[in-house]
């Protein structure tokens, strides 16, 4: 766009104007700034750089992509970008990518296997250099296939199989939650566990349940549900209708927790005093809610950044290890003594 194709600034146009050959210009501008020897004389190099700057030269990715076989494009697949957590992770990814001169393209898989495959195909068709999956499913058939085909990717937020991943330590996070509620004196507790195919939900639940079990306490009630507000509301609805209603609910996700707060109110319960509810992720919203929500902070943006770094290492041919980031608990008014 911009210029009607008339005067695109190209290596050639620069070379011609300077009476040099296009390859010289290319070498200077690609400047393996390290050695500096092989490029050109200090003088010509300077002239080239000045003119390039002046004309606002920007290498054409089609040209270089065609030649090098690399696109400097990274594909990012997420369940949905309108999930705040994923949006923040993506922001981290994109930020880090920008700093390295990479561009990201993203797509929603809606946690649907077919969409996942389709969108991945589209990204490969775009010739992405590598992929980041934020929507890994625990039965990772698709990822196994992709890896077997030589696909380069890392996972973020959710782990699966032993594909390299950057996640929070969700088991520990769940344990922290249990420790907090148990410390307040809650023994009848329940977990709104999210979708069973997501490691985030299952790991947090496992950590939570493990804590209670290790102490010989009654096993917490576990209920699966979608990760969103409506899902949390429905699950809490069920929990609160039971005769042996729990005194505290741990939702593995802030939005589910907010839904649970709604259900609590419908049951005439005041969150914090009649019923403790806590979430996970420490969404910016959590602190600002009418009743501030106890939650577990995970460094979302940092997770995204690291995932991208991992991917670049992978693309450079290095071996990469999975990373687990440490969560921390932040207590607020939504949880209190029973």
């Amino acid at each position: 766009m911009a210029q009607p194709k008339a005067h695109q600034v190209t290596l050639r146009s620069i070379a011609d104007q300077l009476g040099l050959h296009v390859s010289t210009v290319s070498r200077v501008l690609n400047g393996r700034t390290g050695d500096g020897v092989r490029a050109a004389s200090g003088d010509t190099a300077a002239r080239i750089r000045r003119l390039a700057e002046e004309l606002g030269y920007q290498p054409d990715p089609h040209g270089s992509g065609l030649r090098t076989g690399r696109s400097r494009l990274v594909g990012v697949l997420v369940p949905r970008l309108s999930d705040l957590v994923l949006a923040m992770i993506y922001e981290g990814i994109d930020e880090a990518a920008g700093e390295l001169g990479l561009t990201t393209i993203t797509a929603n898989s809606r946690d649907d296997e077919q969409t996942r495959r389709l969108r991945t195909r589209m990204m490969l068709a775009r010739r992405v250099d590598g992929l980041i999956f934020g929507d890994a499913s625990l039965d990772s058939g698709f990822l196994d296939e992709l890896a077997a085909d030589g696909g380069k990717f890392v996972l973020v937020n959710r782990r699966a199989g032993d594909h390299p991943s950057v996640t929070a330590d969700d088991v520990t996070g769940g344990r922290l939650a249990a420790e907090h509620l148990h410390g307040l004196g809650h023994v009848d507790v329940a977990v709104i566990a999210g979708e069973p195919y997501a490691s985030t939900g299952t790991d947090r639940t496992a950590g939570f349940v493990g804590y209670y079990r290790d102490r010989g306490l009654a096993a917490p009630l576990v209920l699966h549900s979608p990760f969103d507000t409506a899902g949390g509301r429905a699950a809490a609805e069920k929990l609160l209708s039971r005769p042996d209603r729990p005194t505290a609910i741990f939702a593995v996700n802030d939005f589910a927790a907010i839904g649970a707060m709604g259900a609590a109110r419908d049951h005439g319960l005041t969150v914090g005093t009649d019923l403790s509810i806590m979430g996970y992720n420490d969404t910016p919203l959590a602190a600002e809610l009418p009743i501030p929500l106890t939650s577990v902070t995970v460094p979302t943006r940092e997770m995204g950044r690291r995932a991208l770094m991992s991917l670049t290492r992978l693309l450079a041919g290095e071996a990469v290890e999975s990373e687990r980031l440490a969560p921390t608990l932040v207590a607020r008014a939504s949880t209190a003594r029973p």
Copy 2:
């Protein structure tokens, strides 16, 4: 990625296998499916198509981009993707783009002029065919420049100058809000108006204030603030500390409204009974809050879709008109008679 470069499926590899020329294969596969005459014999065409399918041929965008000068890439600039409203708009854009075989790349401008310019530059360097701005500022100097340089773009969500845009009818939306609150009997009302550079905030405020003014009522208090929860909370804090505290608050954004709810609670006020609060955008959250939030629905995803459609028309050389989508009000428990 994927194949180690060894056996990429290319027009040539298909042509060779079939003993045809690459141009023939190209013509068949690009099939101007309409005329059908000029391509090849029905038989060869079928053979080509079958083999391409079988090998999983995907045209290389670098090659075609280089040749055609088009990238089938659309750049989308937003204030921040972690703003749910923008995320949903972006989903609409990307969905529509996908259906047309276009790919979107996105970036956050954080409503910062310099970042905006920088990120736009990066997108142009990527040779996007066109741009969609979701972060237009009312003083549209940057956009004017870009348009003067022949840049192809449309605006979404926020309008500016008379650049083509797809937005909701925010003035009407503000009016609906005023009508609702006034209908309930509120005369001392206030507006948390968002940032003054965003048409969304100013238009909604103008519609709201206009309604009260047209009826000769006292002019609503107007307070600007950031669009997020913390901003809304701070603004509400100020409003509620006044001796002539309003009985109803219209926040031009659900998140600001949620912040306001928090402030209300700090003041010992029960939202709905002691103080009416309403938001805007009808975020999925609004309905699920402990105290469900009255809000104005705008067809976010649809807005995104239409913006992309507009852009494609623009790119096809057609003239495009701005569009205004109709908002509707949905009343919930957070607003009631004073």
